[in-house]
Symmetry: C2
Subunit: 218 residues, 2 copies
């Protein structure tokens, strides 16, 4: 799962908040920290930029900041993608696909750590996208989940939220297993709207504490 390439290590550092949102990055400054020279560092930064994890501020690099407007737009976008994904998955998925999806839904056990819950949720939504049969939907979902990763981490801090996510994933998987496309689509939309709401409340309420940790939220 862990990617020990320079790109993977930089990505992990950003997603784990080791590199704070909004933090300025210099290519030469990253050389000693990651033990690589500017050429591969630049390549990794360019790739991270295309994924929305790094940005340019003029000519300088920075870790992509957290932005409430962007989160809202991402959830709207995700609802477009994922409702269609659920519908297509219902039309196309094999029995085995759906059983694996149900297993992934049950794996996101509430007793686990926030990290496990987050990764399990990521796997669930990516598998759902995969069985939709459209690789562009899958790529778009992967991109959205990546962009939302750092904020989703906030939401999944409370055991109550993890329980709710778990139950909602199970509802989606059950509806798909029952062949009820409409219910599955509605369950997906409910899940996203609930998650969005809980998440943005977390961000808003934690904003001051976050800022105290050096994490700016626009």
């Amino acid at each position: 799962m862990t990617d020990d390439s320079l790109y993977g290590r930089l990505r992990s550092a950003i997603l784990s908040l080791d590199l704070a949102p909004g933090q300025r990055l210099s290519e030469r400054g990253l050389e000693p920290e990651f033990g690589a020279s500017r050429t591969p560092i630049r390549a990794a930064l360019m790739r991270l930029e295309s994924e929305g994890l790094a940005q340019r501020d003029g000519k300088n690099w920075m870790v992509a900041p957290l932005n409430l407007d962007e989160i809202r737009a991402l959830y709207e976008y995700r609802e477009v993608l994922e409702s269609a994904t659920t519908r297509l998955a219902s039309e196309r998925a094999s029995r085995e696909d759906l059983e694996e999806l149900a297993e992934l839904a049950s794996t996101s056990d509430a007793g686990e750590t926030p990290e496990h819950s987050l990764d399990a949720g990521t796997s669930f939504h990516l598998e759902l996208a995969r069985i939709s049969g459209n690789p562009f939907l899958e790529d778009a979902m992967r991109s959205v989940l990546t962009r939302l990763y750092r904020t989703r981490w906030l939401e999944v801090q409370s055991a109550e939220s993890r329980d709710r996510v778990h139950a909602e994933h199970s509802s989606i998987a059950s509806a798909l297993l029952a062949g009820d496309s409409a219910s599955a689509e509605l369950a997906t939309i409910d899940h996203l709207r609930g998650t969005d709401e809980r998440l943005r409340q977390s961000v808003a309420s934690d904003r001051l504490r976050l800022r105290a940790s050096g994490i700016a939220v626009d």
Copy 2:
């Protein structure tokens, strides 16, 4: 409109088929042709890879080939994006936005060249995405239009196709101006399905001729 950066020139060369789909590219081989050294060439190739215009074949670079399965998946993906885009645009667009959109629709005049028709169509769909108010939908539409550019070029060769595209764009704009969201969404879906069908017929019927020109279609 033209981008004289190295990236822009490489992109144009691919989209205009000066660099044939499937053609192998070597970083050093591009140096004399584009008058730049490997470093910026590599950067441009990596960016084009993230946009789906260049690919890697093992360690080697190649111009992204044309692939009928991919075209089908792209149109399915695009229908997901653009039906939602139309709905959101109908909810949010100002009167000025919609009038500009209608103007763009009428600009795609049937008497123009294929290139003009294609660029006008691109502008229409990008403007529609812009007034949806969601930057991620807009970026995704831009990406889809870029990936489909070379194949759309085939479809727009006949004046008859250009007429039809023009009429369909006008229908969408009219429905939006009338505030009829449902009709606009249906007109968008009709437009895409018709375009998809005409396009894939063009590709299929031209496949042999294309191959004779060195353009492989999988």
